[in-house]
Subunit: 397 residues, 2 copies
Amino acid sequence: MSSFSVPPPKCLQKPLAVPHRYMFGPGPSNVPSRILMAGINPVIGHMHPEIFEIMNDIKSGIQYMFQTQNNMTLAVSGTGHTAMECAIFNTVEPGDSVLSAVNGIWGERAADMAERIGARVNTIVAPPGGFFTNAEIEQALSKYRPVVLFLAHGESSTGVFKMQPSLLYNSYVMIHAYRYGCLLLVDSVASIGGTPLFMDQQGIDILYTGSQKVLNAPPGTAPISFSERACQKVFNRRTKPVSFFLDLSWLANYWGCDGKPSRVYHHTGPVTAFYSLRESLAVLAEEGLEKSCERHEKVAEYFHAGLESMGLKLFVKEKKARLPTVTTIVAPHGYDWKEITTYIMKTHNLEISGGLGPSVGLVLRVGLMGCNSTKDNVDMVLEALKDALKHCHKSKV
Amino acid sequence: MSSFSVPPPKCLQKPLAVPHRYMFGPGPSNVPSRILMAGINPVIGHMHPEIFEIMNDIKSGIQYMFQTQNNMTLAVSGTGHTAMECAIFNTVEPGDSVLSAVNGIWGERAADMAERIGARVNTIVAPPGGFFTNAEIEQALSKYRPVVLFLAHGESSTGVFKMQPSLLYNSYVMIHAYRYGCLLLVDSVASIGGTPLFMDQQGIDILYTGSQKVLNAPPGTAPISFSERACQKVFNRRTKPVSFFLDLSWLANYWGCDGKPSRVYHHTGPVTAFYSLRESLAVLAEEGLEKSCERHEKVAEYFHAGLESMGLKLFVKEKKARLPTVTTIVAPHGYDWKEITTYIMKTHNLEISGGLGPSVGLVLRVGLMGCNSTKDNVDMVLEALKDALKHCHKSKV
């Protein structure tokens, strides 16, 4: 006969304790109490009419944020990586050619995901902090004839956005892509809402982001949208996507995007996370997308000027290619970057971070996103950096 | 030049409004304010030492709930379906033989998931409300030699648990499974915490559940655990799992289960959902697993007696095979089940639900899980059912 032999853990007797902290890394950002509080509304069913209405509101909010009329617009029940897999799992079949433009960690991860499901993956690679010319992209498109081209708009690991600043506005690349039947898949996790992006006008076929960056919602939901052209590919596949959970035909029904009269149980949506996501989209709509972008850009300029006047160097050389949401600073010469971030966390209760993937050891990263993007916060970060440079050891190397 | 052409949606100007409701369906359950409130603690980084400590506490809490010493114990950043895919994606490779015991929707979905990744899937099927004999399972094991056998402990679509009441206690099946190198994968989303289950003593190799049932946390996280034997299979694969997001080698590192000295960025964990999950595990540890199971069983007995004294019939004939968490009632003859659930929602502000998958049209389902499992709530449901039977139309059919 079986019996209870594992005792209740003592650690759970201590009450939960979470520190307050300035979240000025590349994300998650601070969540204003209005958005946190939305999440303590009572749990209702994932198939109740009231949650469908909330999901419809979320859909409208994402269409606004993405500047798209796409009907196939929804939030994935997961973080940015889940949305990334949702995009790739649904649009790519085994044997398909995929091109990933790698100028940081996101292009690497997209390539990894596509390889896992049996795609033939090719990459073009730019050094961290760099980006591609249109000619490079066009050449690769014509060489590899991919069904999907992955681009990171807002490469948060290096602080670069608009990988080739004119690309997304440049009909050349789009015409090339269209000619080869290629879908444009764009990651805007760290950029959208803080810098202008126009899904429809820029011909983006699949666009996704996360809840925890400019939106200032807790991590756990990820807005995504598919163009008509992307849906054509998705709904005419020869094979089922590898994931039932991320299968767009199921998600489309759950989000009321497939025109069917009733919704069928797919999975239990994280309803309280949806409450917070809706609230965060309402905050964005109240300020207005244009104003939000202007604010992020002004604050970033002010921040970048402050950094340069301190003698620090920005990692992304071309001014126009700098992300206004996540700033990469060349790791100050002679210092151990980790000592700086640790000092600032300890002394100023403030998170800034080191590099990620290809930028590890090369940079410090500061994210000022959504409600965190203010001049007061810039002043706070600059003070903290000055203080750290004064107090951290200069290494002998 | 692109411009902002999609205006902010009017629907987001209305404040979020969510009704209070008795959540007595098969889940999500009501979330007590203590657990909801845990979720409004400030967001910290997904790689901060404080969140690692919270994750360690969660790990201990799951080990307790699952009655396991498995080191490879963690919570997936998603709902029950994500955990299901995590289990299957990591243990099954293309071409592997998988056996799914189907006596409701969960066996069907497990089979679907395994098929999508190229497994050779076989099923044994019992009618809704039924289960299997040990001989049936053993015969199928010896015939198909699966690498994974899927069983639902707590088939919430039909109200059955212990699919073959003695199975999990019966060393015959385990010995058979071990002989063929088969892993036992068990879904306990709707049962664990409300009925005894002993992962280690019962020889279960992979066990998972959801946060939104007996645990009474919001949906969005899913506890899972892998035995040493399961890890042997997972970490000696020939191919990478199809999902980067659910790749156990990455998750193991993020949860500190791989013995490596430092954790590498994998994905942004839903930190506020982790706060609530930790709190829900603390509540369970405070009451004690044994007491919680006893309470669920007593309340279920009281409920079942009340239903029978009203003249209603329980769908699962064998008393010992009835889930104490989710009760299935034979849809009353001559009534439209949907009219009953709609009436009760409208008049009593109380959710009970119809069938799911193979049980659609056959049953009413009532879930009393975690804090909802009380005699007072039983009385409330019985009153609501009496009232509905009085007021709903009897059809002529």
